[in-house]
Amino acid sequence: MPTAESSAHGRAPSPLGMAVDCRAVSFSYEEARSPICALRQVSFTLRPGGSLALLGASGSGKSTLLAVLRGLDETEAGVVLLDGMEPGGAAYEALRRQVGLVFQVPELQLFAMTARDDVAFGPRCLGWEEPAVGDAVEEAMTLAGLPPSEFAERHPYALSGGEQRRLALAGVLAMRPRLLLLDEPFVSLDPVTRRELVAILIRLRQRGVTLMLATHDIDLAWELCDELLLLEQGRVLAAGPWGFDAASARPLAGARLKEPFLVQLWRRLGRDPASAPRSAAEAAEALA
């Protein structure tokens, strides 16, 4: 994983996780019969090592925002600052390469003959040489719960669905992202594999990687993320801490989103929803 020394072009060492400052970003898809405005002046910030749940109905702009943050699409207005740096120039491009994006159903992108080669693809494209590539692959596969000794030589298509999902994630982790963007990472996973993926993301968060997670699973978002960014038709409805409290209007109701199960439970039990636990284990501790 990146150390405090890995920084762009001789600046002072950066914290492990990248800071994001998204300022009034707008983006439209031009190819339709009439342009579709997918993002309208979206602004939010994310501190180094922070974790942000990207929420919103289908079509609200979540995937588009992740693509823009990763630099796959250029904004038509507004800017995305990474570690406080504005776009333009080699230093910014170097930071962009430290942003990892895990697409929806990422196992559709597995293509190599062995798991090792698939995971190595990213680092090799970045121009890394052996043994740095080998180290990155080992580390990433281990972090993703795929011990290299067991999985390195296996054919990706011979793995189970859950293993493929984790292999695709390893392919992104091998590039040592300081900002990890995940687009619906839990879709199509069985409950046990889902918990395994949650554990991996918690480990990354503990290491200080900045996380941004688009998901419809409000309970996993609540467990993994300190803050939220709620989009509706490309606009920001809410940004920042979750904001549940006994008195205020429920922040998610306007977007047809239910509150996390544990928040609902805390309300029903007459406890302060702002202090609701993040996981079943935490809840059990509080209620036992």
Binding site: P191, L262, A284
Partner: protein, 274 residues
């Protein structure tokens, strides 16, 4: 029984083991059968077989809507009475716009144009797609695609509906719509086979079938499956959120009466003096 299957075997060409072995299944009008199991347990294979999309390897009998799934003619007829919705709508949307895609099946069945238009309008309305009727499918979000695909499957009147993780890519609002639509269809008398990884969605089913490596290891009431926590874990499953909390509490020495599967039941169980 709308679907009656006994002793079903299926093996993918070139595979070393059966994807389904000795499977038994029965479902009647208005019933919702949930099918659960880890990735690779055979759920999607079973869905395809019930829909007449694969030829069974062998079976004592395999009947869907009165059609024999062991014969080609039977499978072809079954495909009309049994609708199947897959996980990935990209594989099911074929036309240039949503409206045309919904009409696709009806056109193939030679519906009169007026009837077809009325049915398409009904489906667009039911799935809140009216504003998107002219939209190109590749410009829809994942959830919108799934709704469009479902509308297309249901445009043809069905007796049985097989849904393979239909809400996987939907937002909670879309998920609620699909579940409400499924409830309506159940009330209309359709038999529904509902493959899912979402344990909260299993709670409302009449019965649940749990698969492990292609065999049925449980068939019966939902509460009974969830009560066997060891089995649930072994199968790669979880419990509904209320159940997971109850199990975590038991681990800390606070055992609730019964295993609550919903928020209401959990609140009630917690209210009982310890």
């Amino acid at each position: 029984m709308l679907v009656s299957i006994s002793g079903l075997h299926y093996r993918y060409p070139g595979a070393r083991a059966d994807a389904l072995a000795d499977l038994e299944l029965g479902i009647g009008p208005g019933e919702l059968l949930a099918v659960v199991g880890a990735n690779g347990s055979g759920k999607s294979t079973l869905a395809r077989l019930i829909g007449g999309l694969e030829k069974p390897g062998a079976a004592r009998h395999a009947i869907a809507c009165g059609h024999d799934l062991l014969t080609l003619a039977g499978r072809q007829r079954a495909r009309r009475d049994v609708g199947v919705l897959f996980q990935n709508p990209d594989n099911q949307l074929v036309a240039d716009c949503v409206e045309d895609d919904i009409a696709f099946g009806l056109e193939n069945l030679c519906w009169p144009p007026d009837d077809m238009q009325a049915r398409v309008d009904e489906m667009l309305c039911r799935f809140e797609l009216s504003d998107l009727r002219q939209r190109e499918p590749h410009l829809l979000s994942g959830g919108q695609k799934q709704r469009a695909a479902l509308a297309g499957v249901l445009a043809i009147p069905r007796q049985v509906l097989v849904l393979d993780e239909p809400t996987a890519m939907l937002d909670p609002g879309g998920r609620a719509e699909v579940l409400a639509a499924v409830d309506d269809l159940r009330a209309d008398g359709l038999a529904i086979v509902y493959v899912t990884q979402e344990m909260d969605e299993v709670v409302g089913a009449d019965r649940v079938l749990a698969l492990e490596h292609g065999t049925a290891v449980f068939a019966g009431p939902v509460a009974e499956l969830f009560a066997d926590v060891d089995l649930v874990r072994r199968l790669g499953l979880g419990l509904p959120a209320a159940g997971e909390l109850a199990v975590a509490l038991a681990g800390r020495g606070r055992v609730l009466r019964g295993l609550p599967l919903t928020l209401d039941a959990l609140v009630e169980a917690l209210a009982v003096a310890t």
